[in-house]
Subunit: 174 residues, 2 copies
């Protein structure tokens, strides 16, 4: 049975929610990562991702200017970095200098891949749309990369307050 | 270390992926549910959801015509229904007649809530955008509902081939 409740309370039923990191290169040549709770696939052929970035965020400007980005699925080992990238602004700090992570150059997009991520997708910005307080960016995947270790697990937010961890797959009982 | 790989292979690292069901009322007055693998929040204030519906699907037409929909987070008990709603077309069958589920009328949107879902969000269509082979719909939440049972778990796709189940939250070790 359903009961009406404020959105702020209802939305706490959404977890676990997959974490992603978008990274784009600034005009000054700084690779700027931002951690996102809101991303999804939005086309199968051609493959495309959608992601929402807060309108006021530095990353919103950088992604627009670059017209391209890498969308990365962080691994569990990247949890602290994801928290740092999601709670600091590239306007004030060079995030990858303050919190260095192993990276590799992307090949079709002028920014980096995260070496320890589960997967990285090089994307060309296809379209964008203002949705409330966020910019919804749509990117077409032009190149895909995965971690050599197939057992690396994606990072998820488990509950409010940036509590992150693993989402263990438990099949339904027959 | 990252290695380049075809998208079709890389994207299999995405799981678990949360399942949603969108339901909208056809001009003939039939509530038509469709199961979606691709949905996300896209604004905090006002609250908004984005979801991708295949361009050729009947539900794409119905949601456009209705200009409103309910986005539902199915519970584990709804797995079979979710599979049915996702693999049949409302052009050929009345899905809720063929696979009846307990529903309640929504109050601000002319369609139904799923009584056994984890949560239901009544949405007014705010904007839409063609993204590759899918229509990206953006809806503004006007009313929210949750299951009285706070322990109901959201349904996730665990691997390719519609394998569904639970995504158990496992916090990182300190």
């Amino acid at each position: 049975m359903q009961m009406e409740t404020p959105y702020s309370k209802a939305i706490t039923r959404k977890y676990p929610e997959a974490v992603a990191i978008a990274v784009a290169r600034s005009p000054e040549g700084r690779d700027n990562p931002i951690t996102l709770g809101w991303s999804m696939i939005t086309s199968g052929d051609p493959p495309m991702f959608a992601m929402a970035v807060a309108l006021g965020h530095y990353s919103r400007e950088i992604i627009e200017q670059a017209g391209e980005f890498v969308l990365s699925f962080p691994s569990l080992a990247m949890a602290e970095a994801a928290l740092y990238f999601g709670t600091h602004s590239g306007r004030e700090v060079d995030k990858l200098k303050s919190f260095p992570l192993p990276t590799q150059r992307a090949s079709s997009v002028d920014t980096v891949l995260f070496s320890d991520a589960v997967a990285n997708f090089e994307c060309k910005l296809d379209s964008q749309l203002v949705t409330g307080d966020h910019m919804l960016f749509v990117g077409r995947v032009v190149k895909s990369h995965v971690n050599q270790d197939a057992d690396e697990k994606r990072l998820y937010t488990l509950k409010p307050g940036f509590v992150m961890g693993r989402a263990e797959a438990v099949p339904l009982e027959e």
